[in-house]
């Protein structure tokens, strides 16, 4: 796999954890500690190949960030990594076009599988 992956999570541990999982892929990794910082990074470009996005964040939450990404960067695959596993939350995330949803604590195989499908052009889940 090639390309840049943007990891968006207010938790440093969560970002480090995802970076630890993804480092073996050879993908270039960048991170943002908030929804606002993520949108700034995306606006500054160049666009990443994939975004991993947390939902429960202070300030601009994950749902709002996902909506903004859909509006401004259509086609950019977003994998939501979340502890909020309520059916209605997951339904809202799917309606907003998330490529995939991974429940926290993040499972290595799920993260790698989602990255491979998103960047390799596989089917969303």
């Amino acid at each position: 796999m090639t390309g840049n992956v943007l990891i968006v999570d207010d938790s440093l541990v969560a970002r480090l954890s995802l970076k630890g999982i993804l480092k073996e892929t050879g993908l270039s990794l960048s991170e943002a500690p908030s929804g606002e910082a993520a949108l700034e990074a995306l606006a500054a470009g160049p666009p990443p190949a994939l975004v991993f996005l947390d939902l429960t964040m202070p300030g601009l939450g994950g749902i709002e960030t996902l909506r903004a990404i859909r509006d401004r960067f259509a086609g950019l695959p977003v994998v939501v990594v979340t502890a909020d596993i309520q059916a209605k939350t997951l339904e809202a995330v799917r309606e907003l076009g998330a490529f995939a949803i991974v429940r926290k604590p993040a499972d290595k195989a799920e993260i790698l599988g989602a990255a491979e499908r998103a960047i390799g052009g596989g089917a969303a889940s």
Binding site: S11, V13, A14, S17, T56, A83, I85, Q86, P105
Partner: protein, 212 residues
């Protein structure tokens, strides 16, 4: 902590993330029961002197007279006290959440009792799921005392009466949640005992080793 345990910023972040997952589980459990989304906030973890815990909890709520509390102790290597605060005067909304009906023959008294039962049940679901998930992530198993309803006002005196005495610092986990559509705000606090600190630090460090 009483035995001098201190937590780094990374360890506190890991605890906060653990609480995030724990409360996510709790919200999912509750939303299944009430068929309504529970809006979550970002949890916070802080080290606070034991004598300052009541003031910390009190500072989070505007009107202590408006809240009641469910208290539940949990025991394991991860042990402590949980406090779930819900608005006392919004009991009718909470009853509606569960679709419950009071006995019409004893309307006033019955509704009060029903409201208390429902507050305790909400506490039982949220505390059990949250504490249980945190314990599971830290590779522990906890037992619980039955939850107990405590009528408001949730002031410093009430909280102080229900915190284990002891010196030093305690870890306080806090999260705020809201029931979608009902505009009912609740708070969950977990206060760990002094004896938990060393184990908690070790468990978090082991978790970090596995993650990073």
């Amino acid at each position: 902590m009483s035995d001098g345990v201190e937590f780094s910023a990374l360890e506190l972040d890991a605890l906060q993330e653990t609480m995030n997952v724990g409360f996510g589980q709790a919200a999912a459990s509750l939303s299944e029961v009430i068929d309504m989304q529970v809006v979550l906030s970002v949890p916070k973890v802080a080290m606070i002197a034991n004598e300052g815990i009541a003031a910390f909890v009190r500072s989070e709520i505007q009107d202590p007279a408006a809240f009641c509390m469910v208290e539940q102790f949990f025991f394991g290597r991860f042990s402590g006290t949980s406090f779930l605060l819900l608005p006392e005067n919004e009991g009718r909304k909470l009853v509606d959440l569960f679709g419950a009906q009071p006995d019409p023959e004893f309307a006033g008294e019955s509704l009060d009792a029903l409201e208390r039962d429902i507050v305790v049940e909400i506490g039982n679901i949220i505390i059990g799921a949250c504490v249980g998930k945190i314990a599971e992530m830290l590779k522990d198993v906890v037992c619980y005392h039955p939850p107990r309803y405590l009528a408001g006002p949730v002031d410093q005196e009430l909280i102080n009466r229900h915190i284990r005495p002891g010196g030093g610092l305690a870890l306080v986990f806090k999260t705020v949640f809201k029931f979608e559509r009902q505009d009912v705000l609740g708070f969950l606090f977990l206060v760990t005992g002094d004896d938990t600190a060393s184990w908690l630090k070790k468990a978090v460090d082991e978790m970090l080793e596995g993650l990073l």
